[in-house]
Every structure is written in structure tokens, then in C-alpha cells.
């Protein structure tokens, strides 16, 4: 049953000969996909600028938000020296907008950070251990589906009216963690059944190790995406509350409060009304684009064509 086997020496290198493209690490692939999304990258840059301007711009600009300008500078439309015009009380609008943006941005970033941390921890433990924690989480989420969180926000906002922006941010965060918790819970629920978790357990890994070393890294994508969305939602919620008078209170200002203060003059002195709103839109829009780009980078929906 043999046929002469010809010299097959050249094949000693056989299976190792690589026809394929270079292998890449996961992170590099994600980064590469993200960078291909021009809109997302541009948005990221613009967002960074907007946030930086909000946080430290006030200090750099040569007018302060509570400075009173000379009498002949009252009620002026935008010009070179006052890019966003002046108010009827004689203040520089640009400085005001920066100040308002600072509050709004501070609150939004704090909310995103705190609620994401809480949400990830609760979601992870709920998804992993199930049991009471899980049912509690589900009930909580139901609660917020039924009662618009705005109610609680409004009440908390009123309660802590004088306590400064950080307290407000914490209140908002305390009610915003449910969506990220659900996402993490969902991912954990599906991942914990995977074979590599079983394998890790068989090797004696403790639960904590499994959660932090194996499961969490796989949920980084949805977490990051959700965190960016939270920033956008937080800024819209905070400005809405401030608009209604239930958020940031005088003497502090927020973009929402600026809009509320100036809505009557929208027809006659549009610069007072437009700029704060545009700032909100710029931040929320760039955050949304960024989040979209991140979502695509982490999980591109490819059309599979089976050969």
C-alpha cells in the first residue's frame, strides 16, 4: 500500500509559512477602527477643547463673569472684544457662558464618573452572583421606568438647593447608575457561562479574580460607551433642572439657568439666548458622536459573508 513518496523536503517549513496578514493585539485593532471614524475623532478633539475651555477658560479670559463693565458696554451684540456680546446688566456674556459651562461640565463629568463606578460594581455583582442583589437591581430599574427620574431629580435638587454643585451631581449620579448596571449585568450573565470562566474556576481562581481579571475586561467596551452617553444625558438633565429652577441656583450659574434667564430676550437680544444653548449642543453632540465611534470600534457589526 505504498507509493513512492518523492522528496518533500521543502515542506519542512510547511505549515509555518505565513500567507496571512500580521496579527494585531485587540487594543490596537480597536484603536485603529476608532481612528478610521473621522467624525468620532474630530468630535473627540472638539469635545476635549470644549471641556477644557469650560473648566479653565474662565480663569484665562480677561473678563470675569461677575465683572461689571463700563456703562457704554451694556447690551452690546457680539464683537471682537466681547465675542458673545454683553448683558443688560453690563456683564460679558462669554465669561458668563464659560462660567455656566464650567458648572455644567463639572456636574456632568462627576455624574458620569460616579454613576459608572456604582453601576459597574452593582451590575457586576448582580450579574455574577445573581440572587437578591439581582432582583433588587431589577426592581430598581423598574422603578425608574415607571417614575420618570426627573421627579426624583427635581425633589432632590430642591432639597439640596443650597449645597453646591457637587451635592447636586451626587444626587443625579445616585439615580443614573441603573442603565450601566443593567448593561454590565447583562454582559456578565452571558459571559459567566463561557468555558474560560469554568476553566479559570477549575484552576482555583477565586470569584473576585474571575470578576476582575476575566469578566470585567470583556465589558470595557460597553462600559466606556455607556459612560460617554451618561455625560451627554447628564448635561441635558442638569441644564433642564437648572432651567426649571431646580438645579444650580443663584448666585452660581449654569447653562440651563442662563437660557432660562434670557429666554424672554431671545427675539431682541439673541446672543443672550443662543450661545448657552449652542454650548450645550456642542458638548452633547460631540459626546454622542464620540460614543457612536467608540461603540463601532469595540463592536463593529460586520456583514458576514459565508464562503
Amino acid at each position: 500500500m505504498t507509493a513512492t513518496v518523492p522528496e518533500a523536503a521543502p515542506n519542512a517549513a510547511g505549515p509555518e509559512r505565513e500567507f496571512t496578514v500580521e496579527s494585531r493585539s485587540q487594543t490596537r485593532m480597536i484603536l485603529r477602527r476608532f481612528l478610521q471614524h473621522r467624525a468620532a475623532v474630530i468630535s473627540g478633539v472638539v469635545l476635549l477643547l470644549a471641556i477644557l475651555a469650560a473648566l479653565i477658560g474662565g480663569r484665562l479670559w480677561h473678563y470675569r463673569y461677575d465683572d461689571f463693565l463700563a456703562v457704554d458696554q451694556i447690551d452690546k451684540p457680539p464683537s471682537l472684544s466681547h465675542p458673545m456680546g454683553t448683558t443688560s446688566a453690563g456683564r460679558d456674556v462669554f465669561a458668563q457662558v464659560l462660567r455656566g459651562a464650567q458648572k455644567s461640565v463639572q456636574i456632568a463629568l462627576t455624574v458620569a464618573l460616579v454613576s459608572t463606578t456604582i453601576g459597574v460594581l452593582i451590575g457586576a455583582f448582580a450579574g455574577f452572583y445573581r440572587g437578591i442583589l439581582d432582583s433588587l437591581l431589577m426592581r430598581f430599574t423598574d422603578l425608574f421606568l415607571i417614575i420618570p427620574p426627573l421627579i426624583f431629580f427635581a425633589m432632590l435638587g430642591r432639597k439640596f438647593a443650597g449645597s453646591g454643585w457637587f451635592a447636586l451631581a451626587l444626587c443625579l449620579a445616585a439615580l443614573s447608575w441603573t442603565s450601566i448596571a443593567r448593561v454590565v449585568r447583562g454582559t456578565f450573565l452571558s459571559l459567566r457561562e463561557k468555558e474560560y470562566v469554568e476553566a479559570a474556576r477549575a484552576l482555583g481562581a477565586s470569584n473576585k479574580r474571575i470578576i476582575f481579571k476575566h469578566l470585567l475586561p470583556n465589558t470595557v467596551g460597553p462600559i466606556i460607551v455607556n459612560a460617554t452617553i451618561t455625560v451627554a444625558v447628564a448635561i441635558l438633565v442638569e441644564t433642564s433642572l437648572s432651567y426649571l429652577g431646580l438645579g444650580v441656583q443663584a448666585p452660581d450659574t449654569s447653562l440651563g439657568k442662563l437660557i432660562s434667564d434670557n429666554q424672554q430676550s431671545a427675539a431682541t437680544r439673541p446672543w443672550l439666548f443662543y450661545f448657552p444653548g449652542l454650548y450645550i449642543i456642542v458638548i452633547a453632540l460631540t459626546v454622542n458622536f464620540l460614543g457612536d465611534g467608540l461603540r463601532d470600534a469595540f463592536d463593529p457589526t460586520q456583514r458576514r459573508v459565508r464562503a
Binding site: R139, I146, G256
Partner: protein
């Protein structure tokens, strides 16, 4: 099926109950309803004491809650701090808000389906990019600012252009209106059009993104491919097969979002000065009116629960796999 409904109702009732406790505690700790009275140095102590007893403020918070619960259980919504019955206030406010929210939801749904489906079918075309951008834009726009913008351009400019007051920006209807049925309808329309647009644009943005994604998934599915392989016309494949499946998830999303629509309506009402649930809520908040706030919350909650249940049942009708 019946079991499903009952189970859902029970959980929802439980959650509502829980929420009522939370809200009651929150409202009670908000502030003192008698603050105004106390601030006035001329109010005799007896009046304050009488009012205190009237509002049950001499009892502890848990006791007050139980009192409220008993009243609520028997269908009594009670009176507000000034002695006016809550129910009529709630009723008229609810009517206005529903008018705004439901109209806006219907408009938003139609827009979302149209834009979502169109964008999916013409994926990566210019219109797709434009719609996507618009969607993101409206998602990122605060509703009160958009409303303000609409007031400027939708109302003032249009009214100037036609030299008549066609579009209104204040209230839900003109006070002291005289005129026939159609004139009255026109008046309502003129008052409602801007709020509807404001609310609809925001909701539509989120839903159309979702609809586009769903439609894309469906268009790439095996059964749509089989439908094409059967030689069916493109129109039939799109409508009978793709759309029929792609509309189903939207039902769930709309149901989940109903809370957000309501919140948006609340804000929009303040911009356009409607005497709806928004105004009621804010006034009640300022006056520490626990009865009003609780009734408000319960009614809203019940509404959302019923709506969600209806959506679930509708889902079962639309998708044979879900029929319990």
C-alpha cells in the same frame, strides 16, 4: 396569558407602592408647608396649630403615610395644603399633558419609522448621513432651548409673515374664545403645533436611530435573503417581510421611553406656559404639597404601567414567538 398579566400587575403595583413611600419621605423632608404662615409675624399661633392638625403635620411621617395610603386605597386623593381638592386639578392638568404627549408621540413614531427605514434601505447614501446627523443633533439639543427656538421662528416669524396670529406660544388655547367648532379646532391647533414639534423632534431622533439599526439587522437576515431568493419583488420583500419584523422592537422602545416623553412634556409645558402636569408638579414642589405630589406620581405611574402592559400585549400580537 392571564397569568402573565397578573404577575406583571402585581410586580408593578409593588414597585408603585415602593415609589410612593420614597416620594412621601422625600416630600416630607423637603420643607415645611407652614413656612409661609410661620414667617408672617401676624399669624396667630392658634391658626398655625389648626392648620397643623388639618394637614396631619402633628403626626409622625410613617403615620401620615398610612393615613394617605388608606385614603388612596379608598379612592380619595384628598386636598392640597390650601384645602382645594386634588382630583379636579389633576384631571385638567392630565388632559393637557396627554394632548401634548400623545400627539407628539404619534408624530415622532411616524417620522422615526420613515427616516429609520429610509436610512437603512439607502445605507451610506447622502440622505442617510444627513438624517443621521440630524438625529444626533436633535438628541443633543435640550428641549427647552429647542422650544425657545421654535417660538422665535415658528411663531414670531410666521405670524409676521402672514400678518395674523396663526401660531401661539402661550397656553393651550386662547382664553375667552368665541367661535364655531372649526375655529375652535384651529385655535387649539395653533396652540399645540409648536409643543408637538418640539417634543416630537427629540423623541424621533432616538427612535429613528434605533429603527435604522433594527431595519439593517432585518435586511441582513436569512429570512429576508430567502424572500429575495423566492423571487419576490423588492417592494414586497421590504414591506411584507422586512418592515413587518422591524417594527416590532420599536413598540418596546416606545413603551420604555414613555417616561422620557412625559418628562419632556413636563419641560415643554413650562416653556409654552401650559397648565399641565408640569406646572402642577412644580407648583406642588414649591408649596410642599405632599398630597398633590403623591397623587401626581401615582397617576403617572399607573399610566406608564398600563402603557407598558399594552405594549407587551401588542408585542405578543405582532410576534407569534412571544405569545404566552
Amino acid at each position: 396569558m392571564l397569568g402573565f398579566i397578573i404577575r406583571r400587575l402585581l410586580t408593578s403595583v409593588f414597585v408603585l407602592f415602593l415609589a410612593s413611600i420614597l416620594v412621601f419621605v422625600a416630600v416630607s423632608s423637603l420643607g415645611d408647608p407652614l413656612a409661609e404662615l410661620r414667617a408672617n409675624p401676624r399669624t396667630p399661633k392658634s391658626t398655625i396649630e389648626a392648620k397643623k392638625r388639618e394637614l396631619n403635620l402633628d403626626k409622625s411621617v410613617p403615620q401620615r403615610y398610612v393615613i394617605w395610603l388608606k385614603d388612596f386605597g379608598t379612592g380619595k386623593l384628598g386636598n392640597d395644603n390650601r384645602g382645594r381638592p386634588v382630583y379636579p386639578q389633576l384631571k385638567s392638568a392630565m388632559e393637557l399633558t396627554l394632548r401634548m404627549a400623545i400627539g407628539a408621540t404619534i408624530i415622532a413614531a411616524f417620522l422615526a419609522v420613515f427616516v429609520g427605514v429610509y436610512s437603512a434601505v439607502r445605507q451610506y447614501s447622502i440622505s442617510d448621513y444627513i438624517f443621521t446627523f440630524l438625529g444626533f443633533l436633535f438628541l443633543s439639543t435640550p428641549v427647552f432651548w429647542l422650544a425657545g427656538l421654535l417660538k422665535l421662528y415658528g411663531a414670531i416669524k410666521i405670524n409676521n409673515f402672514f400678518n395674523r396670529q396663526l401660531v401661539y406660544t402661550q397656553g393651550d388655547s386662547s382664553p375667552n374664545f368665541t367661535g364655531g367648532f372649526w375655529a375652535r379646532m384651529g385655535d387649539y391647533a395653533g396652540h399645540t403645533i409648536l409643543p408637538w414639534i418640539a417634543l416630537a423632534l427629540i423623541s424621533f431622533a432616538a427612535w429613528s436611530r434605533y429603527q435604522r439599526a433594527t431595519m439593517l439587522d432585518v435586511l441582513n437576515s436569512d429570512y429576508v435573503r430567502l424572500a429575495r431568493a423566492k423571487g419576490l419583488s423588492n417592494r414586497r420583500v421590504l414591506t411584507r417581510h422586512a418592515l413587518r419584523n422591524a417594527l416590532i422592537p420599536l413598540v418596546t422602545v416606545m413603551a420604555i421611553d414613555i417616561g422620557a416623553v412625559f418628562a419632556g412634556a413636563v419641560i415643554t409645558e413650562t416653556v409654552f406656559n401650559w397648565a399641565g402636569m408640569g406646572r402642577l408638579f412644580i407648583d406642588a414642589l414649591r408649596g410642599y404639597e405632599s398630597n398633590v405630589l403623591l397623587a401626581w406620581m401615582m397617576v403617572t405611574g399607573v399610566f406608564v404601567i398600563v402603557f407598558n402592559l399594552a405594549a407587551d400585549l401588542l408585542y405578543g400580537v405582532l410576534d407569534p414567538r412571544i405569545r404566552v
